[in-house]
């Protein structure tokens, strides 16, 4: 893997790799919510306002405060989405029953060494927080 940090890439490359997924370390016992607060430098209110769509291993996260991260997870962070489906994909959506056949996805974790997860940033979260990721530093696969 190749480490990327501030000054080592341009904006278009950054946008592309963050959409495809980069590898980021998480802390022992860290939950989805605490990871977002730390990595994106947001308080709880900021998370609720800016990161309304949370997808973990292709399943929706409705309780980010108690969902603990596991090595190999793929976590997607997105703003609120338009459309009926966008609404039902929101974290703890009032119409979440409409997506009840989406599985939680533990069996879709990647095999990674150490406390690494694959993080994808989309839309306004991508534009507003890509520099937070650069500041933190992350890894990409060599062939990317």
């Amino acid at each position: 893997m190749q480490r990327i940090e501030k000054g080592s890439c341009d904006g278009i490359f950054l946008s592309s790799v963050l959409q495809q997924g980069v590898f980021v370390e998480f802390l022992p016992g860290e939950t989805v919510a605490s990871f977002i607060r730390r990595v994106l430098s947001l308080d709880a209110e900021g998370v609720q306002r800016e990161v309304q769509t949370l997808i973990l291993n292709n399943g929706c996260v409705d309780d980010p405060e108690t969902t603990e991260l596991v090595s190999g997870d793929t976590l997607v962070l997105s703003g609120a989405m338009p459309g009926l489906v966008g609404a039902m994909l929101r974290s703890d959506s009032p119409i979440k029953a409409m997506r009840k056949s989406m599985s939680s996805g533990e069996d879709r974790r990647l095999v990674l060494e150490g406390r690494l997860l694959r993080l994808k940033l989309f839309n306004t979260v991508l534009s507003d927080h890509k520099n937070d990721l650069l500041k933190l530093g992350f890894f990409i696969e060599d062939e990317t």
Binding site: E50, C60, G79, P94, S103
Partner: protein
């Protein structure tokens, strides 16, 4: 909007301006549905003289109310054989409403196959032989019309797909730049307009003024709060303006509900190449626009301008459904090719959802390989050229699948499904199955159900059935479709009670009403009841309210989901 223009086509085309009568107080979908329900024999042929095409701006169109520029078109559909309402943005709704017409109703049939241009001005209505634009596609036809009738008018037109009466043909409405980019796309409404002998409608509101509210002060105050709420919300104020509706591609793909290669997979590996984020960056880098409104008075601005590699205008910013239909559903990851097909659809006058789904079916039939963008463009060109193959493709996904012996036709009531696979996202599958319109993601879109309490309050702490939610959503959507408001207002309304209150106050102040949630429910139910009754009389049964069987049999990765809502549950959606 106190009158109706009724155009009777025949050996001697004529028109009459009528009072509203039974149609008073209605607009948009409510009005077009009532016209079709009351005046069209359900068993008529959709292209026969008994069918009618009703064009109606929303109840709030032509006023200063923000985002009130949707126009509805209704008829019996040549694609589904049932009732159809298809709506679009653009300038037509605002201009037609300011002209004072609640509806234009086209009836009869084309005299000797001739096409006419209907010109509607403040004090003048005329039917002009359209020999100068017959045989032209939308861009060329509109250019000639603008040269003749000016750049202040709004235009509705059909391309050659409509002239050939293809079941996937649309009616184009011009946008702010007088480009034919906003389409009443679904259900083959373009073919019905052609069958009436109308190539184009010119709407010129010179000398007319904006519709005035009954209570001006209350209206102004409510509109201000409404706009503030829309701009403050993350979806309508940030996500949609920055990325357009294609902001959905990445997320729906990640959720495993992004139909790929004719609904055979739920994820597309190269989604980042066609995502809204990449599309917006591409547009900006080339000198296009990533933020633009489809009509004056829009404060969301979810559209844009897509330019080619040399910076020349190619098309408006392709929407999510278009990007998906011509992209991942055909295995294509080339934004320029997708934009080219969007341009061709707009020009020929075709529904982008239907055409993308159809090309994917054709690919499954072996006419081209999934992922081959050049071959997809050639197939679409066949439609534009009117070849025998093109006429099959232009008749939609169901006809194409039948022609080539393909089971996997993702259609309900003959209409192609939009960009959400109903297996992992079953709630939308219930709406696809049961809406009287044929598979349609916008039929159950208005997610303000809890605030409106339409159909009963849904406790967010308890998992509710897909059926109950779909019912409530369809009722609320039918009501909002009648106002002329863009459905994207649903998000600030859902999340911000003060914006919902401003929305209700806006309507009440405009009409001098005291509308309640019960009134909204009653309006939505009445529209759906008429639509259901029309379809029943046209021969539809509960067996038509089903998804194709393979959605119950073929598991979709990554969730390995099938559509398992039972038929008995589906039959409960309209049980009021």
């Amino acid at each position: 909007m106190d009158k109706i223009l009724r155009v009777k086509m025949g050996s001697k085309p004529e028109y009459a301006v009528e009072e509203l009568g039974d149609y008073a107080g209605l607009g948009g979908r409510a009005l077009t549905t009532k016209v079709v329900y009351k005046e069209v024999p359900p068993l008529c042929h959709p292209l026969g003289p008994e069918n009618k095409l009703a064009i109606a701006p929303g109840m709030m169109s032509g006023s200063a109310a923000a985002i009130s520029g949707r126009i509805s078109v209704g008829c019996k559909s040549p694609l589904t054989g049932g009732i159809k309402e298809s709506n679009a943005g653009g300038q037509a709704a605002q201009v037609m409403a300011r002209l004072g017409y609640a509806a234009i109703i086209l009836e009869g049939e084309s005299p000797e196959g001739k096409l006419y241009t209907l010109v509607v001005k403040k004090d003048e209505i005329s039917l002009v032989e359209a020999s100068d634009i017959t045989g032209l596609n939308n861009y060329d036809a509109v250019e000639k019309l603008v040269a003749k009738y000016g750049d202040k008018a709004a235009y509705m037109s059909i391309g050659t797909a409509g002239e050939r009466k293809l079941a996937a043909s649309s009616i184009a409405c011009t946008d702010v730049e007088l480009r034919p980019t906003r389409h009443c796309g679904r259900g083959g409404v373009g073919a019905v307009m052609a069958s009436k002998g109308i190539k184009a409608v010119v709407l010129d509101d010179a000398g007319c003024s904006m519709r005035q509210p009954v209570n001006a002060d209350a209206f102004k105050a409510a509109n201000k709060l409404f706009v503030q709420g829309i701009k403050a919300h993350g979806v309508s104020g940030q996500g949609l303006p920055a990325y357009g509706t294609n902001v959905l591609s990445n997320v729906i793909n990640e959720a495993g509900g992004f139909p790929t290669n004719n609904f055979s997979k739920g994820q597309f590996p190269n989604v980042h190449k066609i995502s809204g984020e990449t599309q917006a960056e591409t547009e900006i880098a080339r000198g296009g626009k990533a933020t633009h409104g489809c009509h004056r008075g829009c404060v969301i601005q979810c559209s844009g301008t897509y330019v080619d590699k040399d910076g020349n205008y190619l098309t408006k910013q392709p929407e999510y459904e278009t990007v998906w239909a011509h992209g991942p559903n055909c295995g294509i990851d080339d934004l320029d090719a997708i934009a080219m097909m969007d341009r061709m659809d707009d020009d020929f006058g075709l529904d982008t959802i239907e055409m993308g789904a159809t090309i994917a079916v054709a690919m499954e039939a072996g006419l081209a390989k999934f992922g081959d963008a050049d071959a997809a463009i050639k197939l679409l060109q066949e439609v534009g050229d009117g070849t025998p193959l093109g006429r099959i493709l232009g008749s939609g996904a169901a006809v194409t699948a039948k022609t080539y012996g393909i089971e996997r036709a993702p259609v309900v009531k003959g209409q192609a499904m939009p960009a959400y696979d109903p297996r992992p996202i079953q709630g939308i599958g219930v709406t696809y199955a049961t809406t009287p319109q044929g598979a349609d993601h916008t039929a159950g879109y208005a997610i303000a159900t809890n605030i409106l309490k339409v159909g009963g309050f849904v406790d967010p702490l308890k998992p509710q059935g897909q059926v109950e939610l779909s019912r409530n959503l369809q009722i609320a959507t039918a009501a909002i479709d009648s106002t002329g408001m863009c459905l994207f207002i649903a998000f600030p309304i859902l999340d911000q009670p003060e914006t919902f209150n401003a929305f209700v106050d806006l309507i009440n102040a405009f009409f001098g009403l005291s509308m309640t949630a019960d009134d909204v429910t009653a309006l939505g139910k009445s529209v759906l009841t008429m639509e259901r009754d029309f379809n029943k009389a046209a021969g539809f049964t509960k067996e038509d309210d089903r998804l194709p069987m393979y959605f119950k049999r073929e598991k979709l990765e990554p969730h390995n989901a099938i559509f398992d809502v039972t038929d008995e549950e589906l039959d409960q959606v309209f049980n009021w």
